[in-house]
Amino acid sequence: MNSKRNYYILTGMGFGFAFLYIPILLLMVFSFNEAKVTTRWSSFSLKWYQALLENDAIINAALISLKIAVISATIATIVGVLAGIALVRFKKFKGKTLFSGLMVAPMVMPEVITGLSLLFLFVAMEELIGWPDGRGMTTITIAHITFCITFVAVIIQSRLQGMDESLEEAAMDLGGRPIRILFDITLPLITPAMISGWLLSFTLSLDDVILASFVSGPSSTTLPLVIFSKIKLGISPDINALATLIIGIVAIGIVIAAWLMNKKEKAYQRDIQMAVAQNE
């Protein structure tokens, strides 16, 4: 009975993982394919990687994307953290619920609408005050910040709600003024949440197509937009090479992070056990 159930579970799991990873594996394998035709294997080659490095359009777009992602993740994290703290820690004020709701609304709003409305805003502002001057990196960055603040604020809110409020009260009781407490206690304790928020914003910005396609201009375009427009003209293997590189970087990052976390958790558990043992 039990082994039969295990069998079902294993089969289900096998199919699940196959669906997730076979396409990616195929893509990676074909990035090393000599032939131009992406569906038939001929022989091993690194020529598409070579082609990728020589393709200035893609390299430029990748750099712009990274720049936008770093800037917008950083600004979104700063603003989102402040918003999250304000919404959780401030005493009840009139319209607090409304503000909380308004904060998460963009998360469920179709991105097409967000993109369109931002485009209207930028065009109107350009006519009124002459800024932003055309559409490009600035407008994409602003759009991404707007979008990411919501996610950061939600992450910070849930972290703060789970945190013992008496830590901040204790700091105040010991003579800390509110601003000091923010830097001494609150921010250090929500650092992991801040990092998650930053990473999430970074990823959201890096692979956004919809918002960027509304507010980007001819002068600058992001990596996802370039890939998208290239695909329309037919799949070329240098895109496979690019994808393989990205997957490789992400995989290495994840492995290192997991290893570090595992080490830290083990040390933590050992400390607790030692403290308990001492008590006896």
């Binding site: 830590l167 009260e169 204790a170 700091a171 009781d173 003579g175 250090p188």
Partner: protein, 380 residues
């Protein structure tokens, strides 16, 4: 006669008309919406006291403490420390410190840094902070743990860090919210005495919140018994135990038997109380505030009743006859539930002085319960 050494004099400043209270709470009320958590509380606490707020869970003890620390604002009323009105002073400027029930030790700082935090906020110089931290660590015997992180400490050690962190600031009043509740029984008993010792050494006024009556009795100079946001009685542990003024206090602290009755007659030395529950008259000591015809409760603690199988011949004692329904052996004493003919149950406890008693009282024995009128408590 030789004068007693100062140490042996039990100071009772609350009895001295010339003493001024150090902390004065005047008619403090706290409402959360329609709910009144603290209801017109008045308290006068004197310098160097170890004062306990005792009450069941949810009776408003922590809320009152949080008002004193400044985390809650009283809906009405005010309070003074050393003559200064604290109502408008923010928490970070009040001369009080609090030890939180959760200890609230900063998890990202070492023991040393935790203790130094408050001193640095006071703008003390580095060497001064260092000396005070060392003093604090020594006081709670944690010197060798200075560099540890909080998660590397046991519960008892964390409790000491929290205590040291608050004490090194030399507050005028230290507020402790259930300081021992998270410790196991043995450690709690040991820590109780350490806490008293530290308080005595430093002479700081302590206000301790607890729901544990034994803890309150052991620790405190005086106890305020709270119920539903109100103070029911204030007094020394002895006062509270021996002279409870209300049914609530009598039942909350220890256990007690209460017989309902009517004062039938007032004699020169005593009153005679008629009670349906005992089906005989009870004697209580004369008290000018008791009048004939009044309805009162005659209360007696279980350990003040003598239990025997032979009928005693003490005329001026109260004597009841009943059947043992149940008894429990606790080791140092045995507790009996005795049923009177009226159906009323009476609780009696008596010490087990001999290891094996031949004439041990057991189930279904007919027993006589006697007690001296002077030991009764009258509850109006």
């Amino acid at each position: 006669m030789e004068p007693l050494e100062e140490k042996y004099i039990d100071p009772q400043p609350w009895l001295d008309k010339n003493e001024k209270p150090f902390l004065e709470i005047r008619s403090v009320t706290k409402k959360f919406g329609d709910f009144t958590a603290v209801d017109k509380v008045n308290l006068e606490i004197y310098k160097g006291e170890l004062f306990c707020l005792l009450g069941g869970s949810g009776c408003g003890k922590s809320t009152l403490l949080r008002i004193l620390a400044g985390f809650e604002t009283a809906t009405e009323g005010s309070f003074f420390i050393d003559g200064v009105d604290m109502t408008q002073i923010p928490p970070y400027e009040r001369p009080v410190n609090m030890m939180f029930q959760s200890y609230a030790i900063f998890p990202h700082m070492s023991v040393e840094k935790n203790i130094a935090y408050g001193l640095k906020r006071d703008g003390l110089s580095k060497p001064e902070v260092k000396t005070r931290v060392e003093e604090g660590l020594k006081l709670v015997q944690l010197s060798q743990f200075a560099k540890r992180k909080p998660h590397q400490l046991s519960g008892g050690q964390q409790q000491r860090v929290a205590l040291a962190r608050a004490l090194v600031k030399h507050p005028k009043v230290l507020l402790l919210d259930e300081p021992l509740a998270a410790l196991d029984k043995k450690l709690r008993e040991k820590t109780q005495f350490e806490l008293m010792d530290i308080q005595y050494k430093l002479g700081i006024t302590f206000i301790v919140v607890t729901h544990d009556q034994e803890e309150a009795m052991t620790l405190s100079t005086r106890i305020a018994v709270m119920n539903q946001g109100k103070i029911k009685q204030i007094g020394t542990p002895t006062d509270i135990y021996e002279y409870p003024q209300s049914r609530f206090t009598a039942n909350f602290i220890g256990s007690i038997n209460i017989f309902e009755g009517i004062v039938k007659e007032s004699l020169s030395e005593s009153h005679v109380v008629q009670s349906e529950e005992t089906q005989c008259d009870l004697l209580i000591d004369r008290d000018s505030s008791i009048h004939t015809g009044e309805k009162i409760g005659v209360a007696i603690r279980p350990e003040k009743i003598h239990l025997s199988r032979e009928e005693p011949d003490k005329q001026d004692f109260n004597t009841l006859r009943g059947k043992v329904l149940d008894f429990g052996y606790i080791g140092n004493l045995s507790v009996y539930n005795v049923k009177l003919p009226s159906g009323k149950m009476v609780k009696v406890s008596s010490p087990n002085q001999n290891r094996y008693s031949k004439h041990r009282v057991t189930w279904d024995d007919i027993v006589y319960l006697t007690w001296e009128p002077a030991n009764t408590v009258v509850i109006l």
